[in-house]
């Protein structure tokens, strides 16, 4: 079992550009959540996808969007990048959506640097 995988591992972009990050969930998991973690802080919840729909969303602007595919993999898109978007982006997978107390399994993250 490969666990949660994310690509790419590192990315450098300039302000105003757009970026797409990818995540493959752990085998048997159908729910994917995305988090942003700034240096020295805890992860901040961006949104969660279940059954190919955005189920919950944190306090992030519409520049952050996502998608979940039929095979449960997911993408995070960020438009009009700002310097403040520089962070570690984490993907986590779990089973059966929210509220069930299911453990989340995290990927290694994508380190995004915006210049």
């Amino acid at each position: 079992d490969a666990g949660v995988t994310q690509s790419p591992t590192h990315l450098i972009k300039t302000r105003g550009q757009q970026v797409t990050l990818r995540c493959s969930p752990k085998s048997g998991h159908d729910t994917v959540s995305w988090y942003q973690q700034a240096l020295g802080q805890g992860p901040q919840f961006i949104f969660q996808y279940y059954e190919e729909e955005e189920r919950q969303r944190g306090n992030f602007p519409d520049r952050f969007s996502g998608h979940q595919f039929p095979n449960y993999s997911s993408e995070l898109n960020v438009n009009a990048l700002l310097l403040g978007d520089s962070a570690l982006y984490l993907c986590a997978s779990s089973r059966e959506g929210r509220g069930s107390g299911e453990t989340q399994y995290f990927g290694p993250g994508t380190r995004l640097l915006v210049l």
Partner: protein
């Protein structure tokens, strides 16, 4: 707004002692509280989950307590080892409609 605080940014203890980390929260009604470990440059790794109706949970050298009246969780690592050095995150998981919320983390250093 929801707020989670962890007792300190960093905690240094001597090998063999018990490390105690604190997680306090406000404006949240968690159904579950989870503790994660995160090593530098890596994603968090799940350690323990405790439900709102549970007072204490143990797993090997780890113990978690959960007091919903005080809105506090304590995380203990007994017989600490240098390999336990990492950042420990608490996270609140509520019913549907409440977002999953992480605390800022406590960086634990176990000195040999």
């Amino acid at each position: 707004s929801q707020k989670i605080e962890q007792n300190s940014e960093a905690l240094n203890i001597q090998e063999g002692k018990t490390a105690t980390l604190t997680c306090n929260y406000t404006n949240y009604s968690p159904a579950y509280l989870q503790w994660y470990r995160q090593d530098p440059g890596r994603g968090p790794v799940f350690l323990l989950l405790i439900r709102e109706n549970e007072k204490e949970k143990r797993k090997e050298r780890l113990k978690v307590t959960f007091d919903t009246t005080l809105k506090q969780s304590l995380f203990h690592i007994t017989a600490s080892q240098p390999a336990d050095s990492a950042t420990y995150l608490c996270a609140l998981d509520g019913d549907y409609g409440q977002n999953f919320v992480f605390g800022p983390g406590t960086r634990l250093s176990v000195l040999p």
